[in-house]
Symmetry: C2
DNA sequence: CATGATAGGTTTAGCGCTATACCTAGGTCG
DNA sequence: CGACCTAGGTATAGCGCTAAACCTATCATG
């Protein structure tokens, strides 16, 4: 069937190893003439090395896994931000001639299975809880260069790339406070567990404290990431807490849902309530009014993840195992001063 | 390093093949007792089969490639619809215990390289021009079950899944005509080349013809898919063709851009101009007003792609190599009757 | 009792590649 | 002139797995 090294070697009248060396660009030990001849034949016959054979023989696959949690129906599709990261990672890796294996993880041990089974050189874990990362031991990882994105795990085996979540929240909440808001709600997914959301929550608390605003626990709500979840929360908030004049959410898609939910209950954004999102996903600029949000340096995150991974693969020891990138507030149309007369509707 | 079949065999005191048979669930030839014992050890030792070795020995990889064009900076990220398809495919394949390799294709021959190199069982080509698909011959494909999504290629080697693009366009344009529009613009990417857009264009023409509306070629414009491209087109349209009262675009993201472009020039949607998108991507429901659009059966498309592929892999011969799924018009807020007094702005 | 079946395995021969050790002819050097 | 490089290769031994052929004891059958 497919043409193999052996075929090329036979046709060129050299040994298999010589062809292998030429194909892999090993400088040494081959005369220019032989090299040319082999390269010609390789091209003519359309030879493509078998990645499985290489992976087996060389113990390196040039394959990087991208593992994303996938409980039941949910998958990478829900959060636009995640999707953008996937695209960027693919590009970075392609540039280095690595391939990307995309895999949704439904059960815990699938992480380990994926890492071992495919003999991955590296893997990026996207959106896992810190606890999941912590759990991974040397046996489970087995030499794979692991990068946990947006994690605050303490696991020394995992490299980390994230944004300055604490600072991002500070930026957003400070902006709201500066506009005159005092009753500011916080909405994000299961935040006692995952570090990213907790850091943002801490940033939120800090700014409130700095400004002498008491934290009202009833204003801090767990809302899973998704448009519909945001919408439901927005409606509830409008009905139950008309005194709230601002909401800080940990994802743009959530913010968009919240705005719609508020609108459904007759409260306008930013007239009655201000809303700030997080990520500056593409959609943030498509909605009306355009979403004020905290921007992460997405290309930077992808590039840094890949760089970290490559350094580890090259055996370079880095001083830090984690990188935190800067964030900035993107002021658009959903944050404004609170209405003059307290909170109730019109 | 990692634990192998051999290790398990040694520990269980059986031959390597027995372990292999048990691990692969081959019923025959193993007593229940032996099976249990082996399974125990497999579990205890955390054995995970090597996919590369399997792929090499069995000539099947349980890997499916997802190939997407990636010219320069662009990648799968731009079109939300593409992204949704990726997510669905991953889920379908995972269900069947296949893995997904995601690969952007920058140069022609990378398609062939990807197919051969990884010994892929199947591959989905997403968003390629028909001509690219046509070019693939048996040598390039070499036994891979190939599904071209949204293609109208004549290549008998490629299976095809698509929606009824002609019908979708008919639905949209008929809706506009029924509302009273006569000057309806068409905007889509490089449409002489790719079949999907051409079919939609033909559907557009047909409905115009049916209703005695002359096709004005100046109203048919090539606009690459992307928000900014749509925006630029929207502005141009507003300035240069104030007589146009409706626009049919071949992608939601394009439609959203167009609406913004029109707005930037002072023309409101749907008051002054109606806009219909295509795909019913998630974002269509997030913008204001919500986008009227042609919905494709996305989960159906992904499921059908996988089914087609699996049937081919199982050697089942199917009567048809192509499946076309139904579409429906989702009426939301961006299509309305044209303004009373001709087209000029307010 | 010879003849099969059958259950329950084992042995052999690779899949396509790489790592590593090895070989040989011609030149170099003290 | 013998020891030794070095350029330019080759030979061998796997990597971890599977397909396919083979083996052996046991039991049923005519």
């Amino acid at each position: 069937m497919a043409v193999t090294l052996k075929d090329i070697a036979a046709e060129a009248g050299v040994s298999l190893m010589t062809v292998s060396n030429v194909v892999n660009g090993k400088q040494a030990r081959v005369s220019a003439a032989t090299r040319e001849r082999i390269l010609r034949i390789v091209k003519d016959r359309g030879y493509v090395p078998s990645a499985s054979a290489r992976s087996l023989a060389a113990r390196s696959s040039r394959l990087v896994g991208l593992l994303v949690p996938a409980e039941g129906e949910a998958s990478l599709t829900i959060d636009p931000h995640t999707v953008e990261v996937v695209g960027m990672l693919e590009r970075e890796l392609r540039r280095l001639d690595y391939h990307l294996m995309l895999r949704g993880i439904a059960r815990r041990k699938e992480i380990t299975e994926a890492l071992k089974s495919w003999n991955l050189d590296g893997a990026v874990l996207l959106g896992f809880q810190d606890a999941e990362i912590d759990r991974l031991d040397a046996g489970a990882i087995g030499g794979v260069a692991l990068v946990a994105m947006d994690s605050y795990s303490a696991n020394p085996l995992a490299l980390e790339v994230r944004s300055d979540d604490f600072g991002g929240a500070e930026l957003a909440v400070r902006h709201l406070v500066a506009l005159g808001h005092r009753r500011i709600a916080f909405a994000g997914p299961g935040f006692s567990a995952t570090g990213v959301v907790r850091k943002r929550y801490e940033g939120y608390r800090k700014v409130l404290a700095e400004n002498g605003i008491e934290v009202d626990d009833a204003l801090v709500t767990t809302v899973e990431i998704g448009h519909d979840e945001g919408l439901a929360y927005g409606r509830r908030l409008a009905r139950e807490r008309p005194d709230v004049t601002a909401v800080f959410t940990t994802a743009d898609i959530l913010a968009i849902g919240v705005i719609e939910g508020l609108a459904a209950e007759g409260r306008s954004v930013p007239g009655d309530v201000s809303v700030i999102g997080y990520d500056n996903a593409d959609i943030a600029a498509y909605v009306t009014p355009k979403l004020t949000t905290v921007a992460q340096d997405l290309p930077g995150k992808a590039a840094e993840a890949v760089r970290l991974m490559m350094d580890r693969l090259a055996g370079k020891e880095r001083p830090e195992r984690a990188t935190a990138l800067g964030v900035r507030l993107v002021e658009r149309g959903t944050a404004a001063p609170p209405p003059r007369r307290g909170g109730s509707g019109r």
